[in-house]
Subunit: 227 residues, 2 copies
């Protein structure tokens, strides 16, 4: 396969669709591309927020630590998503930790360059607004889940989203690979590792899923993972 260019990568982001070739060229010149392997940290809280990132491959998690060492993961991001957006939202430092969960390819753009482009293209600005709206909606849904749902419902509906977002449809259901550790799911759902284990095994018991360290297989339709 031909090596994929930076331009090719950039063109595949929804947020950038509809931009003129000239703009894309300009964007490309200001973009640097980097590969990051599992467990690498892209930024920490308090780090200067000068760069906005486009995730091309792999997975990134955005999370926080409490004073007493607990973890909560705010987002699990896959290809096509943007992070570090606080840079263009008027913050000069990050609030969260961004860590690579699966080896990633990331495009980095300086916030000034990006802001220049936004000034030139109201289309881009609109896309950015849309993206932020999406982000806001997702986190509001997260709050709603935390308040209204119990642990097992949160885990089940997380699995739903996870399969929907990252899984492949098969004749006999859905397959996601690789799978997450139970601790990672616990951090995403504000539950304990042991609770995740229990819920996962109950679902396997009921023959809704099959799983191992490497994969998650949903037998049948997504709506089996309701609430």
């Amino acid at each position: 396969m031909a090596e994929k260019t930076k331009l090719w990568y950039l063109q595949n982001f929804n947020m950038l669709e509809g931009m003129s070739p000239k703009m894309m060229k300009e964007l490309e010149q200001n973009t640097s591309m980097q590969s990051n392997s599992k467990k690498e940290i892209i930024y920490f809280p308090e780090d200067a927020s000068n760069t906005i990132y486009f995730l091309k491959m792999g997975k990134i998690k955005i999370y926080r630590l409490s004073e007493d060492g607990k973890t909560t993961t705010l987002q699990l991001l896959g290809p096509g998503e943007i992070f570090g957006e606080s840079a263009i939202l008027g913050q000069d430092t990050h609030d969260n930790i961004a860590e690579v969960v699966e080896d990633a390819v990331v495009c980095a753009i300086d916030k000034r360059d990006f802001q220049d482009l936004m000034e030139k293209s109201s289309k881009l600005t609109m896309s950015v607004n849309k993206f932020i709206g999406w982000r806001l909606r997702k986190i509001q849904a997260h709050v709603e889940d935390l308040v209204f749902k119990n642990a097992s419902q949160r885990i089940t509906s997380f699995l739903h989203r996870y399969v929907e977002t990252f899984g492949k449809k098969m004749v006999d259901g859905w397959m996601v690979r690789p799978f997450l550790t139970h601790q990672e799911i616990a951090d995403l759902t504000a539950t304990a590792r042991q609770t995740v284990n229990q819920v996962l095994n109950e679902l396997a018991e009921r023959d809704v899923i099959k799983f191992s360290r490497r994969f998650l297989h949903l037998k049948g339709d997504l709506d089996q993972l309701e609430s």
Copy 2:
């Protein structure tokens, strides 16, 4: 007027400042003003999201209901704040309920008019971005509270924010008036009414606060309401 903290400034930053008089004039012509009294609903979920609102006076709460009738309040907004912003973030319906908590005066602007203005003024666009970033930060902090703090810490730190945002500095501490009902605090902190009652009385016992249905008086410094 109360001493202005950084938070106060952030909360009340005027999204429209720095706009030319001509722009302001244009904005004014597209703005309608309305008064709404306590318990009035400004919008429901699924309502068309065509309008963005500026709150001039009073308080508004943004909240959600669960299927089984529970309530969680996402935000309590005071003068200077904007709501209904989903209109300019690419959503065509609202997700939340906006209800008047204290008799309010609200300016309403059609989203198209506002978007036109944004196209003309990149300064306004930047301000909007900043505002959204601030909103995003607040809700992330909300998630962090829900996950890391226990009920009484959530209630106490809510009181901290409430006093800081809405209170007046006095010689002997801070005064907020009117106060909220215990149920309203419970909805804001994802706790039960009875728990709020208990925590409030404990704080009064420890002589940190004095309160009634009408007012909340913090005796001394804000940092007594830590975590």
